[in-house]
Amino acid sequence: MEAIRNLINFFSYPQWSFTLSLVVFGVMLWSRKLWTKKGGLLMLVVVTALFCVSLLDPNFRQVVAKPDNVPIVMMVFIVGYFLWLSLYKGFRNDELTAAGEPTFEKSEAEDKIFTWPDLVFSEFICMVILTVVLVIWSIALQAPLEEPANPSVAPNPSKAPWYFLGLQEMLVYFDPWMAGVVLPGLIIVGLMAIPYIDTNPKGNGYFTFRERKTEIVLFLFGFLVLWCQLIVIGTFLRGPNWNFFGPFEFWDITKIEPLVNVDLSEIIWIKLLHVGLPSHWFVREIFGIVLLVAYLFVLPVALSKTRFFKKYYEKMGPARFYVGISLFLVMMLLPIKMYFRWLFNLKYFIHIQEFFFNV
């Protein structure tokens, strides 16, 4: 049992769990059978069983049963349910369309009923049941109020509200200016831009997977792997001093992880070229600057010539394509930076402390 626990703890460290989640993400979307009623039930049973068995471990129980964290546990199940529901409906509609039949939503839209009493009465009952659940919840789990704030004692770990924990996790890899301002700003701008970039009417008003494969995979990658997973890591697996702890690991406040992160400029000038760092910031950071400029401005043009992206370039036109691909590349900067950190202990590609410009 101890060996299994240690193994899970080991593989839940971000470098492994992130890679594993990429593999699981790919396999799950690939396997059609998971998105049926039977497959959904199987996933629910497996996840619930694993969760219940894990609850036997006191360290795991302490973290997930914390009143603050209970909603996040529920959120994991709810996100899983809605993911299953949308893909189940999408795959089922794809089968209907392939058989030449109208989609489920289309045949359903022909059925009409009155708002009162069918809708309003059932909504009212839902409201009453939800109120009952919330009251029981508030009685059973006490609000996690703490002692009066003391400016000389900061809570450790000091955590943002759950919906910001993805951003707080990004702070491990990026400068606060990037993780706290630029990336969240681009997430909002990017989500707002989606309807203007993606004008393909397929999938409007009905679920489908086959007709919008690339877009759905891309969105789910950003939402599940880069957003929800970071929230889960930040909530359950980050302990004192923002150190990483496996799900069955004791949150040891004295755990020390030496930070040996180095900048790209240090790797190139000192480790590879064996000379000191140049004193002028531009010369010192030239490699990072060239790399970033190439990534953000040359790569989109190069990608537009590749076979896969060419059809999107032709379909979308240059303006929409370049805005879309730039947002995509900025999103991909996160996993790229994470892997560079894990593989090479890279701190920043560009580190201009003179202007607080760190990427």
Binding site: F124, I125, V128, I129, V132, V135, S138, I139
Partner: protein, 51 residues
Amino acid sequence: MTGRPQKKPDRHFEFSRLNLWFGVSALALLVVTVWMVMADYSKPWKRLQKK
């Protein structure tokens, strides 16, 4: 009697069953409301506060 009443053709739900759901949930709401007031009233520090 011929078993459960059939739902009307212009209705989405069978209303006798919805009424039952409503009755049970309303009773549950009454019970948890009383429970909530009692739980709030019997907090251990309230007695100390009164003293």
